[in-house]
Subunit: 365 residues, 2 copies
Amino acid sequence: MKTPRNGRRLTPHPGEPSHGPLTAEELQLAVRNHSMPLEALRNDITPPGLHYLLNHFDIPFIDIEHWHLRIGGAVERAVELNLKALRRAPKISIPVTLECAGNGRSLLRPRPLSQPWQLEAVGTAVWTGVPLAYLLAQAGVEDDAVEVAFTGADSGIQGGVRQQFARSLPIAEALRPDIVLAYLMNGNELPPQHGYPLRLVVPGWYGMASVKWLTSIRVLTKPFDGFQQAVAYRYQQDANDVGTPVTWIKVRSLMVPPGVPDFFTRRRIVRAGPVMLTGRAWSGEGAVQRVEVGIDGKWAPAQLEHPAAPFAWRAWSMPWVADAGDHELACRATDATGAVQPLEQVWNYQGMGNNVVQRIKVTVE
Amino acid sequence: MKTPRNGRRLTPHPGEPSHGPLTAEELQLAVRNHSMPLEALRNDITPPGLHYLLNHFDIPFIDIEHWHLRIGGAVERAVELNLKALRRAPKISIPVTLECAGNGRSLLRPRPLSQPWQLEAVGTAVWTGVPLAYLLAQAGVEDDAVEVAFTGADSGIQGGVRQQFARSLPIAEALRPDIVLAYLMNGNELPPQHGYPLRLVVPGWYGMASVKWLTSIRVLTKPFDGFQQAVAYRYQQDANDVGTPVTWIKVRSLMVPPGVPDFFTRRRIVRAGPVMLTGRAWSGEGAVQRVEVGIDGKWAPAQLEHPAAPFAWRAWSMPWVADAGDHELACRATDATGAVQPLEQVWNYQGMGNNVVQRIKVTVE
């Protein structure tokens, strides 16, 4: 057992992982946050109300007349910018698939107690805004900078710590040309729940890195030790394991469940005959190179479309001739690093990065 | 015990109401559908992605090139209209508060097994479209018409019955001037999950009446007996009770939880001193006339703002001087019919219309 850095022994979530039924607290979180219904995998770009959403605290009220972004810390020139000034700066637009680091958590046994995601905490949007690297160059990053910390306007308590949501990036990541301070989502003003007026978007990283309701950017000469960095969002084996930080999105594929659902059980009913199975696959660690579809445990390669951008999902499809009876469908992706989705869970204490393959039970009639 | 009309003994949901913990099926529904985070009570008009959403089946894919609305049945002239034709017709815009009939269900003991809403299945939007009464007049309603049935493109299985989602209105309701066939939500094209390209909006009725992805309107000379009318959405005492139909929204008020939340428990932490408590109240049965705020069981009247429209919620506020310690906040509204929110649950088998008062536990520091 290791000791968390700076000697704290906070746990990110109350209570040990559970073999028991869902708790009232988990339901409260499931009711607040929402995932992307899997049929929305049809869309290249996810409409804002269908894009997954995980907010730790309340959606803050932003008075745009008084809002500004501060850039400070280890820089030559501290900067304050309002939204008008940001809109005058150079801009880029980039399609990005974002996924919650906790996606798949409620499928783990035992189940870490937090937002009880199943499989659908994902979405793809076109984010438009100012390249972070441009603003950092304007401010002039000092030579001894090691990280950049980003703070949002959302605040509350977690793990007993009163905090504003804040995360950092290593300086090399922060200087990537494709990291955006976004003020548009799919061409429109950011919705309140997605970070209005400004959010960070870090392509390829799990969603916690893309800090919403951004108010402050600080260049640091020491690693950031805020709660969401040093305690939450870590791959740990137990509460006392310092663990390793959650960063890049692991390879995953999902399938649009074919046929129609039963309202309550969500079991799928499919008509016998030819069915085109479709879905999407993505990875932050390396480009998706292969998707296989499993029909009752027998795997075959799917056809892949080109992605819209390096960190946007790839569409895939595979024709299937459905014969009457019960079947189990599955899909698994492989990325350029050779990483492949596991068939069985890879458990960790916070329930992070569970990219176990999706399985869909269908009844063909 | 009574027999359901037309002799069917279907139950709307599998299984008897439960005293047990949340089931996997309920979690699946909670993950798909979503409610409005209570801090969005701040907004007069709810952004689309924050408006509550309850879809029984999958969001259907609509090929707009081939989509059209059919109006038929007991009319003089059957009509088919595409979206262009509908956009050329006279239009109205109306702010409407919609609430799911199952809102509050998961608070009931025992708990009916279906979408496990807590309190937030509500939202207010400005709907723009063609008055239904105008199109019915164009088609010419026959004298013996008693109801109008509305069918959506969404399909699946519920209670063992394969179906497209369909509901009816009594003819007198259908001819109200404020019922809209909406193609815009808050001035924009309907999002897919809210019924693109066209939905019915029935101000004052629970949300199930506002059929999404509308494909067909049929004027009927006998009452409609589809599943969502004759079996689901009824106030029943048990599975064999034919019950009474769910129609108008019951009076309800909600409060923006003050202070900041704990991430997991959602318990509120409030700083001691003056706090403005705010919220909204609405009723389909009669205008909201009074909102009272309860602090530790002591009730006092809140100040009410004027509503934007007869069926849009009313903002309310009440100053509170928060003193250190634990407190329970509550609010309850009364409407023009004299109906007041109950302090204790009024149970029914499907968990419909539970407008029990909201209670918020806060710790003042």
